[in-house]
Symmetry: C2
Subunit: 138 residues, 2 copies
């Protein structure tokens, strides 16, 4: 909002400056009206494009939020979440174990706990539910 006010203030100032330029060129005849208008047109066209780009750039609030509140609400621990992420990448328990330098048994424990906490019967279902709960990026 503050930026918007600032930008429009700048626009007004620019307009006033151009008025003076217009009067000057009109009186002196140094600059043709065509050129002045063309310059004004180009400048404001660019300003229009720029402002809109700034505005729309922020707009995509299409929540790519990898929320952490629900993770705590579900009682999912750090390690468990880490395992969950690896599962969603399509890794096997063995591969995850090697990746995290712990035994496959431990992974199985984490997975079992995850399934309970996510109320899922399978790891594939856990992936789905986790994404629905926005604790995993789609």
């Amino acid at each position: 909002m503050k930026k918007t006010i600032f930008v429009f203030s700048a626009l007004i100032v620019a307009l006033l400056a151009l008025f003076q330029l217009g009067k000057y060129s009109y009186l002196s005849g140094d600059i043709s009206i065509e050129v002045a208008i063309a310059v004004v047109a180009i400048i404001f066209f660019i300003i229009g494009v720029y402002i809109n780009k700034k505005t729309l750039a922020k707009k995509p609030t299409t929540l790519p939020t990898i929320d952490s509140k629900k993770i705590n609400e579900l009682g999912i621990s750090n390690r468990e979440y880490e395992v969950l992420v690896h599962i969603s990448k399509g890794m096997s328990n063995k591969e995850i174990a090697e990746e995290l330098f712990i035994s496959e048994s431990t992974i199985k424990t984490h997975v079992s706990n995850l399934l309970v906490k996510l109320d899922a019967k399978r790891r594939t279902q856990a992936i789905q539910k986790a994404k629905d709960l926005e604790i995993l990026s789609p």
Copy 2:
């Protein structure tokens, strides 16, 4: 691209028209130069905003496209794809079999074929690859 050319052509025409308007107002003195410039500024500002909105509106090419070309390229049949969709929902082979009114053996066959065609070792990996290939909605 064609539209871009069209728009800029229109812009040029508009500029030329404004030149004439400028000359006319200059000669007749009916319209002050300040007003003319202000009008030009506003018009082109709006044009700039409009064009940019059009451009950026298409930009979010966040293809929610459930593409079908790659499905054929990978040699995935209709039934196999149907099974793939159910897998991505987190369903077990047995559940898919009941859903599609066919035996679990058949599902296993389809899944095996899918894994080969998607170059995956596990169903979870198949889900990931399928989404990367944009044959499954994220």
